[in-house]
């Protein structure tokens, strides 16, 4: 069977009409309509400003970055900020949209051979690099070579592990051969393309909707709308990405009108959610990110506790995850079920997160042979107290808060936890050396549900299967799901995986976080997705900012 996907010329969905942009006549009509709307709203509801932006010239959009990009070189970009910029300047064969569907970009269409070993892309005509040269299949081959070179960042190379060859039989045809059929294959082709005709990679030369203007290190990255982009110019003339590391500065900048959007933390959200003045100026968007926070219990027998499924289950039952979210960050997350995220297509809604049930936890621990013989409040088995170290990284204050919560909750069922906070480099070294009993981590997910790296037994030593789960059936499902292209069959296999993970509890899946973003009402077209605000198509391409006229105040 051959599947072919064809996109419309400029993406999968037509762009919604969002006010005047192209012709003078339309502009005038819309201006009149907007004025009328302002007048009506003033008369009707006591001076409430209009919900949408008021007409005026399109202005630069100012958006905060939480960190300076480490590099502008798309190949080296592994941190979130650098990669986001690489995506804006560059364009890829395919891209994920806000619904996590793959949509055609530089590739007009793609098809698989009958045996699913050969993937053929046909490139869109008329796509140009920012220096005017045409994008060709040779550039795709070049990009693949760069990303799989020995000095490429390892997580990029790994995505192409099963690729045998990438060839360019014609300037607009790319043929990729895979060693075995690989269902998640297309995900790797969302990486921005790099021009074969230029050796140096900084300043970046892309073929995407945004032209690179300048980077003032530690201050900002400025991008300009590419008028020659194959999908038309972005709506905003310029994108000013402001490096604002400090959360309170970011929020102050938002309030002072220096930037057009900023994330809200629970404390700020509590303060502004009922403030009409804030609500009048900003709209708050709520979205889940493809991410989950978890504690891996090392179950490979290297410690006397967590090889027993009852003990792991007791850990999850003893920790009131919903209660934590309610107390510390109400509305900023929901208890997780497994490592499959609710925004992934194969998520099984029939499974519910384990409840908070300390009594059941206590009886499971008793069943497993634990008891408090000496009455010191800590359980023991065979004379050995149930006390262990929870290893965490100091990359966020939230990690420490969650760890303290876990410590407190487990104390109540007679388990003594010592928290071991480590800086990132040391944390990594510990994980690599396998020197941990329980470890807390967060993990960003790809839209594709393949989780072989997380759960396959081959990854239990030296991989990211930190719990050390070895389950022959899970291995089988993971392998089968990677090789099958039938979405229903894949979903079935991942449902089996979810049920087994739920039963075995190799990890306590803590929560799926929810983010909030305050967006200025001057800014329209900003969509959110499980991939964040910048990490999907069209992202900032649709952003548009027009100044509020005096009538709006």
């Amino acid at each position: 069977m051959i599947r072919v996907r064809l996109g419309t010329q400029f993406g999968t969905r037509p762009r919604p009409f969002r006010g005047p942009q192209r012709t003078g006549a339309v502009r005038k009509v819309a201006l009149a309509a907007a004025t009328a709307a302002v007048l009506l709203s003033l008369g009707g509801c006591g001076g409430r400003p209009p919900a949408g932006p008021v007409d005026g010239p399109a202005l630069p959009v100012r958006f905060p970055l939480p960190a300076d990009p480490a590099t502008l070189d798309a190949v080296r970009a592994v941190d979130t900020t650098s990669f986001a910029i690489a995506r804006l300047v560059g364009d890829s064969l395919v891209a994920y949209d806000a619904q996590l569907e793959l949509v055609p970009r530089v590739a007009r269409a793609w098809s698989w051979s009958d045996d699913h070993r050969v993937l053929t892309f046909s490139l869109r005509p008329g796509v140009r690099w920012h220096d005017g040269r045409a994008v060709s299949a040779a550039d795709v081959v070049h990009t693949w070579r760069l990303l799989t070179a020995p000095d490429a960042p390892p997580d990029k190379a790994v995505a192409f592990n099963l690729v045998e060859t990438v060839e360019a039989p014609a300037p607009d045809v790319v043929v990729v051969r895979y060693r075995t059929p690989f269902a998640p294959a297309l995900g790797a082709w969302t990486h921005p393309l790099l021009p074969a005709h230029r050796a140096e990679r900084e300043p970046p030369l892309g073929c995407g909707p945004w032209l690179f203007v300048r980077w003032d290190p530690g201050e900002r990255v400025v991008l300009r709308a590419n008028p020659d982009y194959f999908g038309g110019a972005p709506r905003a003339p310029e994108l000013q990405l402001e490096v604002l590391r400090d959360y309170s500065t970011r929020f102050a900048a938002l309030e002072a009108g220096r930037i057009d959007a900023a994330p809200l933390l629970p404390d700020t959200w509590r303060a502004v959610k009922d403030d009409p003045a804030f609500q009048a100026r900003f709209e708050v968007r709520e979205f889940r990110q493809l991410y989950f926070q978890y504690v891996a219990w090392r179950m490979d027998g290297s410690n006397p506790w967590f090889a027993d499924a009852r003990v792991r289950r007791a850990m999850t039952l003893a920790i009131d995850r919903a209660g934590y979210l309610e107390k510390v960050a109400p509305g900023f997350g929901r208890p997780a079920v497994t490592s499959i995220h609710p925004d992934q297509a194969c998520f099984d809604p029939a499974l519910a997160p384990l409840p908070y049930d300390p009594e059941r936890a206590a009886s499971l621990l008793a069943e497993a042979g634990f008891g408090d013989g000496d009455g010191d409040g800590v359980l023991e088995r065979g004379g050995r107290p149930f006390a262990f170290r929870l290893t965490i990284s100091q990359t966020s204050r939230e990690n420490e808060r969650i760890a303290a919560f876990i410590q407190d909750q487990l104390r109540q069922v007679g388990v003594a936890v010592e928290i071991e906070p480590l800086e990132w480099a040391v944390f990594q070294e510990r994980l690599r050396g396998g020197e941990y009993v329980a470890v807390m981590l967060g993990r960003g997910l790809d839209p594709d549900p393949d989780q072989s790296d997380l759960w396959h037994s081959s990854q239990a030593t030296g991989g990211v299967n930190y719990a050390g789960l070895r389950d022959a059936e899970i291995d089988g499902w993971l392998e089968a799901a990677r090789g099958t292209f039938d979405p229903d069959e894949r979903a079935r296999l991942y449902r089996l995986l979810q049920a087994r993970l739920h039963e075995l509890q190799p990890d306590t899946f803590f929560f799926y976080p929810v983010s909030r973003l305050a967006v200025s009402r001057q800014l329209s077209g900003l969509a959110t997705s499980p991939l964040g605000v910048l990490g999907f198509w069209p992202g900032p391409f649709d952003w548009e900012r027009r100044a509020a006229t005096t009538a709006a105040r």
Partner: protein, 325 residues
């Protein structure tokens, strides 16, 4: 004689730098932590497989023994090549240069404020030490010295930038335009916040040293000889206080190239502080070494400068044959 002395001082400085560099290098190598952690993103998609790890270690030169690595680094550094950052793979010299300008700009302004405001303030307080106003002034200085910088930073930012809109909220420049006026306006809040603490310290220090001289028997004698009070103060109060002050300001010189993580973060100032901390956390050896070299170089330069300043203020201190009266 002078040449010999200068040569000796130069040699001592070079040895100091070398020892400092080696100790830093060895300490970094001994620190626990994976220098390749920067290649593993925090979302934990994977760990490095042994093959890639070996390739990366080889590429970054981590597979060679420590003395050899240090010798290589030293040779290159002497030749002016500070290497490439592990984390970003960009030339270290370029990355530092990008952030050194803003750092110097901020610190030099702060230092100018410290000297230009702190010293006169202290002298004024010393001369009027008996007056009630001065006592309140001293109390105010002590209070200023005790204020936590973060609190001051946020307060000034909120009052002057958010509430009153008098000064820019953050950053070193506006995205577009921005002449000298805009630059200075951007500089004002971070520089004042950075200087505030030290202004109080220097003022208190100047007050105490100047007052000791001003109340000495020499000063009394000069006064009884009929010298005007202003001259008595200049000669017996200000002048002797210059020697320890020169030493103090000399000690502040290395601070010129050091960034303040806090100020940089609150005012989004593109300085070296955050960059240095990131480099240490990522075990980015070339960057940490280059910045330590810069810091130790400035420390040595600062102490030489302090000597020279003290010599100028009081020739007895200079200790050279020519300098002696």
């Amino acid at each position: 004689m002078t040449f010999r002395r200068a040569a000796l001082q130069g040699a001592a400085a070079a040895v100091t730098l070398l020892v400092a560099a080696f100790l830093t290098y060895a300490a970094l190598a001994a620190l626990p932590g994976d220098p390749l952690a920067a290649f593993v993103p925090e979302e934990q998609r994977l760990t490095l497989d042994p093959e890639r790890r070996a390739a990366l270690e080889h590429e970054l030169g981590l597979d060679r023994p420590l003395p050899l690595r240090f010798a290589r680094w030293l040779g290159a550094a002497v030749a002016g090549d500070l290497g490439t950052s592990f984390r970003t793979r960009r030339p270290v010299a370029r990355e530092i240069a990008e952030r050194l300008g803003p750092t110097l700009e901020l610190n030099a302004t702060a230092l100018a404020l410290i000297a230009g405001v702190g010293l006169p303030l202290g002298w004024w307080a010393a001369r009027r030490s008996a007056a009630r106003g001065a006592r309140w002034g001293s109390a105010a200085l002590l209070a200023l010295y005790a204020l936590p910088t973060l609190w001051v930073a946020l307060l000034l930012q909120y009052l002057l930038a958010v509430r009153l809109g008098l000064l820019p909220l953050y950053g070193r420049s506006d995205p577009v335009g921005g002449g000298l006026g805009s630059r200075l306006a951007h500089l004002a809040l971070p520089a004042v916040t950075l200087a505030l603490h030290q202004v109080a310290f220097v003022a208190l220090f100047a007050r105490d040293t100047a007052r000791a001289g001003f109340l000495s028997r020499h000063a009394q004698r000069a006064r009884s000889a009929g010298l005007p009070e202003a001259r008595v103060f200049a000669r017996h109060g200000v002048r002797p206080s210059l020697v320890p002050l020169a030493a103090l300001l000399g000690l502040m010189v290395p601070g010129l190239a050091s960034g303040s993580v806090l100020i940089e973060s609150v005012f989004a100032w593109p300085g070296l502080g955050t960059y240095f901390v990131q480099a240490v956390l990522a075990r980015d050896l070339p960057v940490v070494m280059a910045l330590s070299l810069l810091a130790s170089g400035l420390t040595v330069a600062g102490s030489l400068l302090a000597d020279a300043l003290a010599g100028a203020a009081d020739p007895r201190v200079a200790g050279t044959a020519e300098g002696r009266r």
